[in-house]
């Protein structure tokens, strides 16, 4: 069993407490209707947002682009309510993740049943031979996970969320989140020819 710890990578506000938000001025201007300021915020944060969308979508670029667009449109709609209680980047990132999870919830059932991940044969997959290919292989393996298992793995092991947070956002019990994570890790280990 992996000995995982929560690394809270999604809460940089804690580490950056006391530091001024570098986006504060742009946020104020954007909140008053300045689209150029909002574009600057988009340019600054699109990479982080789109990266998260891609991971949650299993690398499906077109869908990730739709979700990234949705996230920024939603951010524009809600910007007037931003209270500077966290950094804008953190607020935006969290909002974007929620947009992706809402999309995932709306597709609940269909995709899990049509998962491309073959749990019966993945254990026979050849171990990764070359380190240079490992990263790509890992991304592919994560992308092939069943959507909900992938979401839990991405949120917990990559984005740093807790099971409690995942449970709330995905509408599942904490135990279910843990079970999905266990399932996802097991599938990855089998893909890479390792046993726990």
């Amino acid at each position: 069993m992996l000995a995982m710890t929560d690394h809270r990578m999604h809460t940089p506000d804690i580490a950056g407490a006391g530091d001024p938000d570098p986006d504060a001025e742009l946020v104020r201007r954007a909140a008053s209707g300045d689209m150029r300021a909002f574009e600057a915020l988009y340019r600054s944060h699109v990479g982080r947002v789109h990266g998260a969308m891609r991971r949650l979508c299993g690398g499906a670029e077109a869908r990730a682009q739709e979700l990234t667009q949705d996230a920024f449109v939603r951010a524009w709609e809600k910007l007037a309510g931003f209270r500077f209680e966290s950094r804008f980047g953190t607020w935006l990132y969290r909002l974007a993740i929620n947009v992706a999870l809402m999309d995932l919830r709306s597709r609940r059932g269909a995709e899990d049943q049509e998962s491309p991940f073959d749990e019966t044969t993945s254990s026979a997959a050849a171990p990764v031979a070359r380190l240079g290919e490992h990263r790509i292989d890992l991304e592919r393996a994560v992308a092939k996970l069943p959507p909900r298992a992938r979401a839990v793995l991405v949120l917990h092991d990559i984005e740093g969320w807790t099971h409690e947070e995942i449970g709330v956002e995905l509408g599942m019990a904490i135990g279910t989140s843990k079970a999905q994570l266990h399932r996802a890790r097991g599938l990855l280990r089998r893909t890479f020819g390792e046993s726990a």
């Binding site: 682009q65 449109v73 990263r135 984005e159 390792e194």
Partner: protein, 181 residues
């Protein structure tokens, strides 16, 4: 790969990713379309007090506006029915004309020039066909939005080109009414 390596490698996947194409034009167009929709709803609700806090009025970003205007002009002739609305007149900021930015003065001149041509066309035209009335209103709304945006962002001089094209479209519509009549 052991467990430690797996976790390490998963964490390393948390990297930014650049979209395959620039998503900003679509985002800006969607925001502009929402702004127009919100404004239309606000206009319709003027006779009744608001039930909740309305979102703040947004200043339309010029390129987003351009996208929505082009979309509007593309479908305007397919829209039907409605009451005739008077064409908009550009209300310049309450500043002496000599103090206005060049772009705003140019917009006022455009408005005046096309207003004369439009009035002449209207004088010769019968009452507009129903299918054209809504199109007129769409163009007028786009024109007003462009003028508002230009008044607030006078440095966005490329809005003038859009404004000119909107005036031309409006005039062509009026001339079409003459031909139909």
């Amino acid at each position: 790969m052991n467990d430690f390596e797996l976790l390490r490698d998963l964490r390393a996947m948390r990297q930014p990713a650049t979209p395959a194409c620039d998503l900003w034009p679509q985002i800006a167009a969607r925001i502009a379309a929402q702004s127009q929709s919100t404004q239309a709803q606000s206009t319709q609700a003027q006779s009744t007090p608001p039930q909740a806090t309305l979102p703040p009025r947004r200043v339309m970003w010029p390129e987003a506006l351009a996208a929505s205007v082009m979309l509007g002009l593309g479908v305007l002739l397919a829209i039907s029915s409605g009451d005739r609305a008077p064409g908009p007149a550009f209300t310049a900021p309450a500043t002496a004309s000599t103090e206005l930015p060049w772009s705003v003065r140019e917009a006022i001149a455009l408005d005046a020039a096309y207003a004369a041509a439009l009035e002449e066309a209207r004088h010769s035209a019968p009452p507009p066909a129903k299918e054209l009335v809504r199109a007129e209103r769409e163009i007028d709304a786009a024109q007003r939005a462009l003028e508002d945006a230009l008044a607030q962002q006078p440095e966005a001089v490329h809005l003038l080109d859009l404004l000119r094209r909107t005036h031309e479209q409006r005039l062509r519509l009026a001339q079409r009414q003459v031909r139909v009549g």
